[in-house]
Subunit: 243 residues, 2 copies
DNA sequence: AGATAGATTTTGGTCAGACCATATGCTACC
DNA sequence: GGTAGCATATGGTCTGACCAAAATCTATCT
């Protein structure tokens, strides 16, 4: 197949040559034409292969790099990467950052978290295996020991919730959890608080776990909703009243 | 602030100048330094403002365009855009394409859909307002009339589910629904089927609505799970047995 | 022979200047 | 006053060059 012919051929108005090249390379990466870790041809090779200038090739390379499909380093040929769910969801953050700056945007996001975690708690109450329950117990204990140490508490807090995201066994859920933590955390990192707040959050976790252990989906969902709604009250208080 | 100074200063190894410029412009867009619809300065202006070559400016521009923060047209200065949730999620589709090609990847995605819609059905049964119920009724009726017309049925099918995504009043849910439809549809578009399949899916919708109207969350969730699980059986059958 | 240090080559990052295609806007003519 | 045509602005592309970092090769030393 003559690639340059093909690329020059379809004269979609306004379409950059680099876009066509990027699309072509992206498809080759997705279809296995390039394996993970493999190195892409050098820019000077690609410009010959596609019959375009180096600028066009570079613009395509940069597009792929922005998508996370390749890694670029000075002096190196680009390395092929195949982003997983976490990386993919991470990229969304860059796009919607402006939607999550005001109180309403953060609330929309937080509301989906409450909704999802309530459903996860319900799921755990119905389907969690014994090893999952043990994980939850251990995470709760670690969380209890961190009461009073703000940064450590946050860490163990997230770890407790993370277990719930792992229980369904679908890699998409942990990726979503990571996104929640990264996007939402920055909004309450600056919060001053004492051990009493930690104590309250710990109590919330405890209630959730108790309901799960009792195999009571309704209570588990309710406990999680109560816990996260209470947490939201503090996030909300950190926002300027105008927004 | 002397931008060129700043940009040349932090010599983070491997960092492209265009990345720094893109980040700077992206922040100005998000912070309202540029309003939606406004036009960015010309490339030749930006190269002077940042003290870099036009290639560097162009690479930054292309990065922003890929993120959907600006629109570029030949002969036009770039136009500032602020992507909403739907556009953002759209962009992710490019990234996870390779994760949604084999059966396992599609199942992971479909499983989250079952999980989410089951929770949405539960929510609707508990909180749907009268106008929501009326919307559901109307959507179901339209869906019934489309039985036998495959493409029209798919359309009204999606429309019925879309109502459920709208009920919580959070714009993130409809965006997710759009993503599901776009990412998953292509895997069963090619499916041959008769009116009997439409009839089955319609019956599923009907059962869901009945449970919601009866304000029975458990039944609503159960009906939705049954409906989507049945739908999955057909998607699954379209995959090569090897994957 | 193997390891190490230095020279050469590869390769991405940047710059400069030019030309083309398209959109915009001005100007002169009707 | 409206319209056609010309000048201008602007994005898209090309060519060729230079720099910096990494990789590779080579010669030297142990």
């Amino acid at each position: 197949m003559d690639q340059s012919e093909k690329l020059h051929g379809h004269g979609a108005i306004g379409a950059r040559r680099s876009d066509a090249i990027a699309a072509e390379l992206a498809q080759m990466i997705q279809n296995g034409g390039f394996q993970e870790g493999e190195r892409l041809p050098a820019e000077r090779d690609l410009m010959q292969r596609y019959g375009v200038s180096r600028a066009a090739v570079r613009e395509a390379i940069i597009t792929l790099a922005n998508r996370g499909l390749i890694e670029t380093r000075l002096g190196h040929r680009p390395i092929v990467r195949k982003p997983d769910y976490e990386i993919a969801i991470d990229k969304v953050g860059n796009l919607v950052g402006h939607l999550v700056v005001d109180r309403k945007g953060v609330w929309n996001l937080f509301e989906t978290r409450i909704f999802l975690e309530a459903a996860l708690a319900r799921w755990a109450a119905k389907h969690a295996r014994r090893d999952h329950l043990e994980e939850l117990r251990a995470a709760l204990e670690t969380n209890r020991e961190a009461i009073g140490n703000s940064s450590l508490f946050d860490q163990t807090d997230a770890a407790f919730h993370a277990v719930l995201y792992r229980i369904p066994g679908n890699p998409i859920y942990p990726a979503i959890h990571k996104a929640y933590v990264e996007w939402l955390t920055q909004h309450w990192r600056s919060m001053r608080r004492g051990a009493d707040i930690d104590q309250m959050n710990y109590a919330g976790h405890e209630a959730v776990l108790e309901a799960i252990l009792a195999r009571d989906p309704d209570s588990a969902e309710e406990a999680m909703r109560r816990h996260l709604t209470a947490a939201w009250e503090f996030v909300r208080s950190t926002f300027p009243s105008s927004n």
